[in-house]
Subunit: 340 residues, 2 copies
């Protein structure tokens, strides 16, 4: 189907298996994922997932969104608040009340004219906590140290295929990040680090979920959350608490009408999108719990995946990029059968 | 309004003017734009604009989209085709038939089951032309050469504020691009260059419009177009013809429902979004012609704007990024009164 192959080539379907005496077709991100052994996938615990149910769409179809929470040692005071709020069913009956194109959608109880005050559960307060992790945590020390595990480094990942096996004309891969000295992956998450400052932090990509707040030094509680629906707003990194990412149903957030009020807030609450419920995966009945897995970022499959993302050689591409942005790696995450 | 100030601070409103004996508030991108003198703005010719009218939204409101066409020496054979197609009213009655989350929406006549063949105007063929410009063009030679005008260089732009005027703790600005050695701006457009290869090319950002095609060496005609609705897919740079960018009405594309068929094509033509018309701005009656201007990228205002984008010091931010991605500069473009 002419002029649709853009997608077939870029996001598309893995090539069918060929007999072993045929030349191997160039690897694509999809083929690398399809061929990754089961042992390279890591289950995401249901306790690390939020399931958000919006009111049905205009055509009556369900709108379910799954959010993965950020692992320790990052943003854990906010993540703890979010677990408390979900346990308390605090978001049930709240709404998505703000949408700004190429920026964020935002939800919670809101505040101001037209919004009903909704007291927070006991113990949910704005944490006095940093947005970065430092080398006092052994995992971060390992990332920052000279003996750090090279496989988490995105540049090393791009170099996994020995240069001598690449075409002589292949550009040198590089992982230059406009916002941080050292982009890397940590248990499946894109991160950035400064070895000079001895800190590491989660970054804002498409689908990232963070904690809305007022001006510094307020840090927000986690009751009002936003999700990024456009170009990665990396200038927010280290300035606000990242707490998760949308791993399913992103289209139900990204297609919401943009708000016409101040700061993209909808002009009336009747235009909000109602939130039916937000639950921790582990609070759902066993049969309803979400099951997802991610490609281990210390696996050979992930290194190969990043290398291929950085240098496409399949039929659609004539000029491999020679690099890949941290927010364009698109860490592979997939749903798995509940019995799997 | 607590927890909404995220937007106020980041995209927000310029601070009101203060008496001259008060301390100057920190510059924001918005304040720099608001204070840019009239002479730093450049009019966009109506002949370089496409006006796309979609069918009205469900609530009856109009959906108008304005696309700016790419200037010479980039992609001009496709841009010429697009002008021919617009003159011929070729797109009237076609549709947006594909939408993929965090990727693209695509429009034109389509091809395949359910689509009606629509012959192209005489002379509209897939150009045999490169996706990059080289130093045989004097403008590109100037960009690539050792005597190039430093003001087009994004790194130089970030350095416009002398280091000694910055706080001692300010990080060194840098413009590391994961996809190209030399990001820069050219007559208001984000671009990338390789001085080693002596080439420069337009890049894929949010809102970029490009020419759908089949596998290489096909280059597409310009009849089927896509617009980026997610994270900048920079791996497409140099692999496909960039021809423009959406400068108004982007939300009417980005909020379209995502397609559920192969490659995000809608399952039936009844789900497409009809295109009422696409016109060159210069083909419209004078009173209806679009009038826009961009902040000259060789102006002091633009250099200051980039510097502030790279290092936010206003009340919301506690950690300036120290850099800015090419696709996160968000070149200032604004509508102007038709008599302006």
């Amino acid at each position: 189907m002419k002029s649709l192959l853009l997608l077939a080539a870029v996001l598309g379907i893995a090539a069918p298996a060929l007999a072993s005496d045929q030349p191997t077709p160039p690897a694509t991100p999809e083929s690398v994922v399809a061929q990754a052994p089961a042992g390279d996938w890591v289950r995401i615990a249901p306790d690390d997932l939020l399931v958000m149910q919006l009111s049905p769409a205009a055509d009556g179809s369900a709108r379910k969104i799954v959010i993965q929470l950020l692992p320790a040692p990052f943003s854990q005071p906010w993540v703890a608040n979010i677990r408390t709020l979900a346990h308390a069913h605090w978001w049930d009956g709240t709404s998505i009340y703000r949408a700004v194109d190429n920026w964020v959608v935002q939800w919670g109880a809101g505040e101001g004219p037209g919004f009903k005050p909704r007291p927070l559960p006991k113990g949910v307060e704005a944490p006095k906590a940093p947005y970065v992790a430092d080398a006092s945590d052994p995992a971060i020390a390992a990332v920052l140290g000279p003996q750090r595990n090279a496989v988490v480094d995105i540049l090393q990942a791009m170099l996994v295929k020995p240069r001598k096996q690449q075409a002589a004309s292949a550009p040198a891969p590089y992982a230059r990040d406009p916002y941080a000295p050292h982009p890397f992956f940590f248990h499946g998450w894109p991160m950035a680090a400064s070895r000079q400052e001895r800190t590491a932090w989660p970054v804002h990509c498409y689908g990232t979920v963070g904690v809305s707040r007022d001006l510094a030094p307020d840090t927000g509680t986690g009751a009002e959350l936003y999700a990024v629906i456009g170009q990665a707003p990396r200038q927010l990194d280290r300035n606000i608490a990242v707490v998760g990412r949308v791993i399913e149903g992103m289209q139900y957030l990204s297609t919401l009408p943009r708000g016409k009020g101040n700061h993209g807030v909808y002009l009336s609450r009747s235009r909000d999108t109602p939130i039916v419920s937000i639950r921790l995966g582990s609070d759902l009945p066993a049969a309803s719990q979400p099951h997802f897995e991610y490609l281990a970022t210390d696996s050979a499959s992930f290194r190969h995946y990043v290398q291929v993302r950085a240098n496409r050689h399949d039929a659609f591409y004539t000029v491999p990029a020679g690099g890949v942005a941290l927010c364009n790696v698109h860490e592979p995450i997939r749903a798995v059968p509940s019995g799997g």
